[in-house]
């Protein structure tokens, strides 16, 4: 009999020990509710801050190397391969497009401008706007030859390339000297071996030919030492 009573007491004690905290937890006080709300708010703010720091708006330019339904691979202006993710919210456009324009219309080797959300962790851009664009072609070098008859000049670039630059009516030529500063100039003022910067558009047929929109010459500054050595070779071969 005594053993039964002891067992019963033990069971009752154990059940009390288990039920007591549960009963306490089941009926939260107003203070607990406020605390819980506060914790949830802190968690939400923290995750939002992390999200904001992790993702930022970015715009970039690149040459398309590959296109799939969900991704565009481009090589950016610094020569890095970049991955652009696209989704149903991404808008595509092209100045030459007639009607609707989509990802399937983007051709390999096209130059695109991408605006979207850059994820610092994955280093990928989720594109919101993808536009096919044309960027100006800029060369810097020394004047190798001047063709007065055809209004064109031959420029040896710092990279060692020979470019034929067509000068047209729309081309504006400027000159920079220490004394006069940056002033308007003309085709007749361009001389061989001048340091020169040309901005324009590259010919679609000939990669070594361009049409200039702006020319800046530096009469007081010689062409780069690298270019000078190449200019000598060009001058010797033309003689």
């Amino acid at each position: 009999m005594m053993r039964k009573i002891l067992s019963l007491l033990l069971i009752v004690n154990c059940s009390l020990l288990i039920v007591a905290p549960l009963a306490h937890a089941a009926t939260p006080t107003p203070d607990d509710k406020i605390q819980e709300l506060r914790n949830q708010l802190i968690t939400n703010i923290a995750s939002r801050v992390a999200q904001l720091k992790l993702v930022e708006k970015r715009g970039m330019i690149g040459k398309v190397t590959n296109v799939t339904n969900i991704q565009i691979t481009v090589v950016d202006t610094l020569g890095n391969t970049r991955f652009i993710d696209v989704d149903e919210l991404t808008k595509f456009s092209s100045p030459n497009a007639k009607g609707t324009y989509g990802i399937s219309d983007i051709a390999k080797d096209a130059t695109v401008g991408v605006l979207g959300l850059y994820n610092k962790e994955s280093r990928r851009i989720l594109a919101r706007f993808v536009n096919v664009i044309t960027i100006p072609f800029i060369i810097h070098g020394g004047v190798a030859k001047i063709d007065d008859e055809n209004f064109s000049i031959s420029v040896t670039t710092i990279g060692g390339k020979q470019m034929t630059v067509d000068v047209e009516n729309l081309t504006r030529t400027y000159s920079y000297t220490q004394s006069a500063g940056y002033i308007r100039s003309g085709f007749s003022k361009i001389q061989e071996n001048y340091n020169i910067i040309v901005k324009g558009t590259l010919s679609t047929n000939d990669k070594n030919k361009m049409t200039a929109t702006r020319i800046i010459i530096f009469p007081e500054i010689p062409a780069s030492p690298k270019v000078n050595s190449m200019l000598d070779k060009v001058n010797k071969s033309s003689q």
Partner: protein
């Protein structure tokens, strides 16, 4: 008896290997190589690339920055005697840096992506170029 034999043969093998190793070491140490059989390999030190006489750093704008104003401030530092050429799609200017090499100018940019190309040219013709992409957009996303 068998175990004794095994242990003895193991010890004998060990001694044999040790003796052979010592003999091989002495043979190698006393070996003389004729000078005609030796070859001197010299590594030519690479020609040092001359350090460029010009430097250029751009503080503003940041690369791939998205801006909401069409007027953009471009600032940076270069050699004080350099000519700084600033070019965008629709703008170009040549400026002279201050005595400590600092330069700053404002340029106008077009809608969408713009390439800002800044070139510093030293009096001896050496130059360096920095390119940055800046996007003008007021889109909310």
């Amino acid at each position: 008896m068998k175990t004794e034999k095994l242990v003895l043969s193991f010890i004998a093998t060990l001694f044999g290997l040790l003796a052979a190793g010592i003999a091989f070491y002495f043979f190698q140490a006393t070996k003389i190589v004729a000078p005609s059989n030796t070859k001197v390999i010299s590594f030519a030190s690479p020609t040092p690339t001359p350090a460029p006489s010009i430097f250029l750093t751009l503080d503003r704008p940041k690369d791939e920055e998205v801006v909401t104003s069409k007027i953009l401030i471009i600032s940076g530092k270069t050699n004080s005697n350099a000519a700084v050429v600033v070019m965008t799609d629709s703008f170009e200017d040549v400026i002279t840096p201050s005595n400590n090499g600092d330069f700053s100018t404002t340029v106008s940019i077009d809608d969408g992506q713009n390439i800002v190309e800044v070139t510093a040219i030293a009096p001896n013709g050496e130059s360096t170029t920095v390119k940055k992409t800046v996007t003008y957009s007021q889109e909310e996303f």
